[in-house]
């Protein structure tokens, strides 16, 4: 003890001094490090079929790491190109590992999860998201956010110039997410709508379902005003992850929007249930049956990944917002939602204290692996089923620098209201939802992707001059997130600004797109009076006949962002030119012929 006293006194005395411009030797840096990392997305951890290896796609460091689960040593660390952002992985019948490169626009193939194995790549689409392997045809199927569903041989090597080598390329709805092979059919989710598409062997969409709407209590625990509806809808949104169980069911981890009215006062984004206005949800789809919403398995924001044990006995759902993983018996997949506020789930909680986890997977022996991108590390929880709890934890640290970014951490951390910034801005973009504000009316969530720092002022009413004001007003106040630290203030904008707008798929009819561009840029239509420049906005406010004075939104990635306008009144781009679009106050488009309007829409889809 006596040894510590002088040191502590020195610290106390030093702490009163001017810290100066840089870190003193042996002291923390007074300013945060440069911006780092990408939005959390989940699904980047795979355990090989033989159970011997874990393969981690590291989208923050653009590399693929292989861990021998027997020796618990890293046996391979393969660098990708900067900005590739590796995402989902799948193993084929020959033991190759295929990785979707989310920004690299390709599938990388690791010949084997062993030292010295080669890594090749094939271009597939602008933004590959989900990837599946079909053992019956030895093909890969890649779902892309641009709407492409690309099939290619698993055994194919790289083509000269990195060509696609696709055996089939379908054009479906945009915002595709996961793909799962079920017999001869493909099941494909869409990210923000949480819609599930069923495709037959010919690639025809033969079914569309969405997770069920459930009910939640209004003002749980509070008296309900006479005549008012005691229950509100909680509607499906943002399908983070879909997997198949060994018995052929599909399990989707997604969010729900609890449709209560929001306020702009402190805590105004609080929901009627403790789980908040955006709750984590799990929906199960059995063959030939309607989707079933099951009772909450995880309570916590951002259910970005899930895993199912190979014997089908366990399910793990990850909540990045509160850094927990819920581990529950498979019976949880058969317990229907009771239309009540989520309370204590029938799950054990894993909290490894290593920051936000981003991926989970089960080993062949039932061990649960959790990936922590910040450290980076995986933690192996051995024998969770046998122990009846979360098992014995072993941390395997992975090579690479610490991934510290105060802004990124803030963006994904849930506040005491149970929501995070990323709840409404998943992957730094938008949730595709319209929210009802008591003071404002309906407001469609705006995307943060695409040079957000150059798009101030913020919100539809442009009432927030800069990101500082937004953090104070929205995060600290309405979300009850507490005071924003200096580092968070410095880091968040720099981190957000690196998130790109969605990339459009290649135009189906380039000639139509070109004609549409000509119209868009014409003086007659005057679109570019407001939607000007690289970001397609002049950041001004105008009344364009849509019900008030609103800020001109950027049109980057507009094709993937329905519904449109401040209140989401236009379900499609075509509808934007309909009754609620403002008429000729909002671009002189009323005289356009139907083919001209189609051309203009084709151009907007390509932005």
């Amino acid at each position: 003890m006596s040894r510590l006293i002088p040191v502590a006194l020195v610290l106390a005395a030093w702490s009163c001094a001017d810290p100066g411009p840089g870190p003193a030797p042996g002291h923390p840096s007074p300013e945060p490090p440069p911006s780092w990392g990408v939005p959390l997305t989940g699904g980047t951890l795979l355990v090989t079929h033989d159970g011997r290896h874990a393969v981690i796609a590291d989208p923050d460091r653009d590399r693929v790491v292989t861990v021998d689960l027997t020796t618990r040593q890293v046996v391979a660390d393969l660098a990708l190109s900067a900005g590739d952002e590796p995402g989902r992985l799948v193993e084929d019948g020959a033991g190759r590992i295929h990785i979707a490169l989310r920004r690299g626009g390709a599938v990388a193939t690791l010949a084997a999860p062993t030292p010295g194995a080669s890594l090749t790549r094939r271009a597939v689409c602008s933004e590959p998201r989900g990837i599946a392997y079909d053992p019956a045809t030895d093909q890969l199927h890649v779902a892309c956010s641009g709407g492409e569903l690309v099939s290619l041989p698993a055994s194919g090597g790289a083509l000269p110039g990195g060509g696609t080598q696709a055996t089939r390329q379908l054009r479906l709805d945009r915002d595709l997410r996961d793909v799962v092979v079920v017999g001869t059919q493909l099941m494909v989710t869409r990210f923000r709508t949480a819609e599930l598409l069923t495709l037959d062997a010919q690639g025809e969409v033969i079914g569309r379902v969405v997770p069920p709407v459930v009910k939640r209590e209004v003002g749980a625990g509070l008296p309900v005003a006479p005549g008012s509806e005691p229950l509100v809808d909680a509607v499906p949104a943002v399908a983070w992850r879909m997997l198949a169980t060994p018995d052929g069911r599909l399990v989707i981890a997604h969010q729900r929007q609890v449709q209560t009215q929001l306020g702009m006062f402190p805590g105004g984004y609080g929901g009627s249930c403790p789980s908040g206005i955006v709750e984590s949800a799990v929906t199960v789809v059995s063959p030939g049956a309607a989707p079933v919403a099951v009772a909450p398995i995880a309570i916590g924001a951002l259910p970005i990944d899930l895993a199912i044990s190979r014997d089908g006995a366990q399910i793990a759902v990850l909540s990045a917002g509160n850094h927990h993983v819920a581990l529950a018996p498979a019976a949880a997949l058969s317990a229907p939602d009771g239309n009540r506020c989520p309370s204590e789930p029938a799950a054990a909680w894993i909290d490894d204290q290593l920051g936000a986890p981003s991926s989970v997977a089960f080993g062949s022996d039932g061990a649960l692996l959790v990936y922590y991108p910040e450290v980076p590390a995986i933690v192996v929880h051995s024998g969770p089923a046998a122990s009846g709890g979360v098992g014995v934890a072993t941390t395997i640290e992975l090579p690479g620098p610490l991934g510290y970014d105060a802004g990124r951490a803030m963006f994904h951390a849930q506040t005491q209201l149970g929501i995070a910034c990323a709840s409404c801005h998943p992957e730094g973009r938008d949730d595709g939802l319209v929210w009802d504000f008591a003071e404002l009316g309906l407001r469609r969530t705006q995307s943060l992707g695409g040079h957000v720092l150059r798009r101030a002022p913020y919100h539809w009413s442009a009432d927030l001059a800069d990101l500082d004001q937004l953090m104070d007003s929205v995060f600290s106040n309405r979300m009850a997130g507490g005071a924003v630290t200096h580092s968070e203030r410095v880091s968040l904008g720099a981190w957000l600004d690196r998130i790109p707008a969605p990339v459009a798929a290649a135009a189906i009819d380039p000639a139509a797109t070109a004609r549409g561009q000509h119209l868009f840029e014409s003086a007659e239509l005057a679109c570019t009076t407001c939607h000007a420049g690289e970001l397609f906005t002049n950041n001004q406010r105008f009344d364009v006949g849509t019900g008030g004075v609103f800020k001109v939104p950027s049109l980057l990635g507009v094709g993937v962002r329905p519904p449109y306008l401040h209140d989401g009144c236009a379900a499609t781009l075509a509808d934007r030119f309909g009754a609620c679009g403002g008429g000729d106050l909002h671009g002189h488009t009323s005289a356009l012929t139907a083919p001209e309007l189609a051309d203009l829409i084709a151009y907007l889809e390509a932005l």
């Binding site: 003890m1 106390a12 923390p28 840096s29 509160n322 204290q353 510290y404 149970g418």
Partner: protein, 132 residues
């Protein structure tokens, strides 16, 4: 592996008017230094490494040390010095005493500083001349 040194400092050694001892408001400001051998276990090392990069991350380090010592998890400030084989983290926090008829409030729930939802009372340390 983890060596924890506990030290209550005399209030006069610290700065600021809120570092006095027990007062009429029934609160007491306490400074406690934790000496941590490095490398530490993974969760603690994460917080040490983050704190080295950014002073605003140090609060989580002190919060974890306080939590492990069952002292709550809500430091008002955290002063850290990195040494060759150890890290000294001095947490400043408030306790409520029950003397002279004061009510006893305790420390609140012992929750993880990084796993728990953000506290509405978290505060920035950047730019303060009285904190590291």
């Amino acid at each position: 592996m983890l060596e924890v040194g506990l030290l209550g400092l005399a209030s006069a050694g610290a700065c600021g008017p809120d570092s006095a001892g027990p007062d009429a408001s029934c609160e007491e400001t306490v400074h406690r230094t934790f000496e941590i051998a490095t490398p530490a276990d993974a969760p603690l090392q994460l917080r040490i490494d983050s704190c080295r990069l950014d002073v605003d991350a140090c609060r989580a380090l002190c919060a974890m040390m306080m939590m492990r010592s069952q002292l709550g998890s809500n430091p008002t400030s955290c002063d850290v010095e990195f040494r060759p084989a150890t890290v000294a983290a001095t947490a400043t926090y408030t306790v409520f005493h029950g003397d002279n008829g004061c009510p006893i409030f305790g420390f609140g729930p012992a929750v993880s500083a990084m796993a728990a939802p953000r506290s509405a009372t978290s505060r920035s340390q950047g730019g303060s001349s009285c904190r590291v």
